[in-house]
Amino acid sequence: MPESNVLPLKPKDSQKAGAGFLISVDALGYRRGGRSLLDAVSFELGRDPGITVLLGPNGAGKSLLLRLIGGLIRPDSGTIRFSPDFRGPIGMVFQKPVLLRRSVRANLLHALAIARIPRRERTGILARLLVEADLTHCAESPARALSGGEQQRLAMARALVGDPVLLLLDEPTASLDPAATAAFEALVRKVAGEGARILLVTHDLHQARRIADDVLFLHKGRICEHTPAATFFRAPASGEADAYCKGTLLT
C-alpha cells in the first residue's frame, strides 16, 4: 500500500501559511454488488492552490471517488475530513453539463439564488463570472443552444458561485474538441491561480501533462501513487502508472 503524501507544491504561499490539509481522505471504501469499487483509498490535498489530476484508466473509480468527496454519495467505510476552517461550497462540474432551459444569465442567477447570495450582490457577481468564463457575449443566449465548450465553461462559472476553495471536475473536457478543451484548461488554470484547489478527473495523459501540479493515480479502486506531476511523468513510482503511461496497462 503506497503511503499518501502531502505534497508541498511550488511555494506560491500567498495563501494562509502553515501546513495541514484542506481535505484528508482516510481508508475510504465503497462496495456495490459484492465488488469492491474503492478500497482503502487514502490521500490528502494541501490547503495551497493548485491542480491535482486524478488519473487512471476507465473503471478505476475516479468519478466515484469524486462524488464521494463531493458528498453526493456516502462511503461504506473510511472518512473524508475537511480542514477545521474549511468554508463555503464545493464546486462541481460533470462530464455532461446539466444546464437549465434558460439563458446563460438566468442559469447563473439561479445558482446565485440557490446559494442564497443577497439579491443586491448578484448583478456584480454575475458580471464577474461572465467575464471570468468568457461568456459575456452570449449572456442572453439560451444555455442549451451554446457550443459544447461554452456550455462547459458556463457549468464551471456556475460552480464558482460562492467562491469555493475546492472544485471537483469530472472529465469536463471529455466531449470537447481541442480548441474548446484548451479554452477550458485555461479557465481551470486561471481559477487555480486565483487560489482554489482543483481536483480534476481525466484519463487523458496529455491533459494531465499540460495542467497537473500533482497526480493521483487510481487503478482498480486503489491509489497507486500521489506524486508531483514532474516526478510522475519522469519516473512513475508504481508499475501500474508506468504501464499506463506506456499504454500497456491492462484493466
Binding site: G70, L72, P89, F94, R101, I114, A115, P142, A145
Partner: protein, 220 residues
C-alpha cells in the same frame, strides 16, 4: 331545434366548466405529481399505482358517486349543488386530476433524474429543488394540461348525471349531442360533434403555439 344563441350558450358553458375543472385539476395534480416524483414517503409506490389506475376511472362511476354525495338526500345535499355547473366542475376535476398528476409525475421524474446530481452539488434545498423543477417543467406540463382538457371536454357520463342536461342551465356540448342523437337529429348531432372537434383543435393549436414560443425562448 338549436338556435345560434343557444349554441353559443352551450359552447360557453362547456368551455367554462371544463376550463375551470382543468385549472383546479392542475393546481392539485401538478404539485401531487411533483411530490410523487421527488418525495420519499411511505406509501408512495401505492399512491403512484393508485393515481395511474384512477386515470381509467369511468366517468359514469364518478358521476354516480358524486350524485349519491350531492343528492339532496345525500351527505352533501345541504349544499344544493346537484344539477349545477359547480357539480359538473367537481366531477370533471375528479376525472382530470389523476391524468395531470400522472403526466406530471412522469415529467418530474425525468427532470429529477436529469437535474438531481447537479442540484445536490449546488446544495439546493428540497424546496429549491421543487421550484427549479416546476419552472423547468413548464413546457412539458402544458401537454399534461392539454390531455386533461381533452378528457374534460369530451366527457359525458359524469356531467350527464350530476348536471342533468338542463336546458339553459347545465347543457353542454356532449350532453346536447346525446340529446340530439336521441331525437334522431343525427345531422345536427354530427354538426355539434364537429364544433366540439374544432373547438378542441383550436385550443390545442393555441397552446401548441404558446408552447413552441416558450421553447424557442429557452432553446433556440
Amino acid at each position: 331545434m338549436l338556435f345560434y344563441s343557444q349554441l353559443l350558450e352551450i359552447v360557453a358553458l362547456s368551455l367554462e366548466v371544463s376550463l375551470v375543472a382543468v385549472m383546479l385539476a392542475a393546481l392539485i395534480g401538478i404539485p401531487l405529481g411533483a411530490l410523487l416524483a421527488i418525495g420519499r414517503f411511505p406509501g408512495r409506490t401505492a399512491l403512484i399505482v393508485l393515481v395511474n389506475a384512477l386515470m381509467g376511472l369511468p366517468p359514469v362511476v364518478v358521476g354516480l358517486g358524486l350524485y349519491l354525495l350531492l343528492s339532496r338526500s345525500g351527505p352533501l345535499g345541504i349544499l344544493q349543488l346537484l344539477y349545477t355547473p359547480t357539480a359538473m366542475i367537481i366531477a370533471q376535476t375528479i376525472l382530470v386530476t389523476p391524468i395531470i398528476a400522472s403526466f406530471s409525475h412522469q415529467i418530474f421524474a425525468d427532470l429529477h433524474r436529469e437535474y438531481d446530481e447537479m442540484l445536490r452539488a449546488m446544495r439546493a434545498s428540497r424546496w429549491q429543488t421543487i421550484l427549479t423543477l416546476i419552472r423547468e417543467a413548464r413546457h412539458a406540463l402544458i401537454t399534461a394540461i392539454l390531455a386533461g382538457l381533452g378528457r374534460a371536454l369530451s366527457e359525458i357520463g359524469a356531467v350527464m348525471i350530476v348536471g342533468g342536461n338542463i336546458n339553459h342551465a347545465t347543457r353542454v356540448m356532449t350532453t346536447a349531442i346525446a340529446l340530439e342523437t336521441s331525437k334522431g337529429n343525427l345531422r345536427l348531432a354530427v354538426s355539434l360533434g364537429l364544433i366540439l372537434l374544432a373547438l378542441s383543435f383550436a385550443i390545442n393549436l393555441a397552446l401548441h403555439f404558446l408552447r413552441s414560443r416558450l421553447e424557442r425562448a429557452a432553446h433556440a
